[in-house]
Symmetry: C2
Subunit: 237 residues, 2 copies
């Protein structure tokens, strides 16, 4: 927790804040080993970052006074990530990684090789997803929550969402065996599509290319989804 991310509920008005959830309190007590008077790095969800003075810390609550709150959050990556839904534990870690890296738009997509049972996972509950996003923001010192959209059908995504996305973004389809290598240091808004373990099936690749996406690969090595997504984002931006 490199930043205490204050939600609207934590703000008590008059430049004061109070947190009472066990996770953050435990972190203040056991990791930061904070004591009243400490100046801590905080951010307001969706807003600025800065320093807050810890005024009181008990087992149940931590009270803060906001001091200088004039630092903007780091710039987001110009990307909309479309990710075939990974298995639940991989999803959790991948959401944290990509949020820490600065992704602000995430679509979780059903494809042929996504196990249908994954869509029933408790990891997809709104509050669980929110938790992983918050962990990513706290890690990276950011305040802007990503938007996460669930797209449970490949064809509806292809027909109803992709065409308008490709008007705003250049579509890059990461897939082994494509003729071009992943570009580096791109400056344009990018729609990055990443398949599941086992990849997109040939028909899905054809459809995505026909819709206007450009194929690219990351080399001969087969990477786990979480490794591949981090590697792609880091090479692209």
């Amino acid at each position: 927790m490199n930043l205490i991310l204050l939600s609207p509920d934590d703000l008590t008005g008059d430049n004061r804040a109070c947190i009472s959830d066990p996770r953050r309190l435990g972190h203040l007590h056991n990791v930061h080993r904070s004591t009243p008077g400490d100046l801590l790095t905080v951010g307001i969800q969706g807003g600025a970052m800065g320093k807050a003075r810890l005024t009181e810390l008990t087992a149940e609550r931590a009270y803060f006074t906001l001091e200088t709150m004039d630092e903007p959050p780091p710039a987001p990556l110009p990307v909309h990530l479309v990710l075939a839904l990974p298995r639940p534990r991989m999803l959790a870690r991948t959401l944290e990684h990509v949020t820490a890296l600065g992704v602000k738009d995430i679509t979780l997509l059903h494809t042929k090789r996504v196990e249908k049972s994954y869509w029933q996972s408790p990891e997809l509950r709104t509050e669980k997803i929110h938790q992983h996003l918050v962990l990513g923001l706290e890690q990276a010192r950011d305040t802007q929550l990503p938007n996460v959209t669930l797209s449970k059908g490949f064809r509806p995504f292809l027909e109803e969402q992709l065409p308008s996305l490709l008007k705003q973004y250049r579509g890059l389809l990461a897939h082994p065996g494509m003729p071009h290598a992943c570009p580096r240091d791109v400056k344009y808004p990018t729609l990055l599509l990443v398949g599941p373990e086992g990849g997109f099936i040939a028909w899905e690749v054809e459809q995505l290319l026909a819709a206007g996406c450009e194929g690219m690969h990351l080399g001969p090595r087969i990477l786990r989804v979480e490794t591949a997504v981090t590697a792609l984002l880091s090479r692209l931006f």
Copy 2:
């Protein structure tokens, strides 16, 4: 397991192999759902990759006949990674990530902010490290095991190992706040130094820079070690 990595013990001569460990057998039975006659991707540890025919599969053993074994493993990354020892679970995942990405030389280093207890972790036992390296190779389809060296003192590393390493490699120290951004697409042999959670201390940074390393950063976001290492390798190579 995208490749069955055959160790010398698995080879029974005459282009045949036999595996009997529960992990790989379980994978053949339950994930690949293999049956005799299947042609599977295999690699010989330290050697070539190719196809092998599964000739017999029981609960205790799988027998193969090697067929075309003429594919070289993918090229390694031209890097020696010097990583401050991460906490045990992070170490396990990071070893798998970097092995899958093609790192062949890894030094795990003690620094001021590495908890001393980490050096007592069972994850550092030779056979545990070997296990994570094998998982990385099986994931990426590679046969060349990385060398892992434990460097339990910062000063001995600095004085006895670093000078000769810097004769073979360009040293790049990843550290927040350095003036230059991480370079992209480098072609030269690189010694990449990555600090622990919380970073190198100022004295360590000074010493590494004085020894001839160049500082560089990955941007304003604070990343977990496993995310940072993947992002650095992907951007550099």
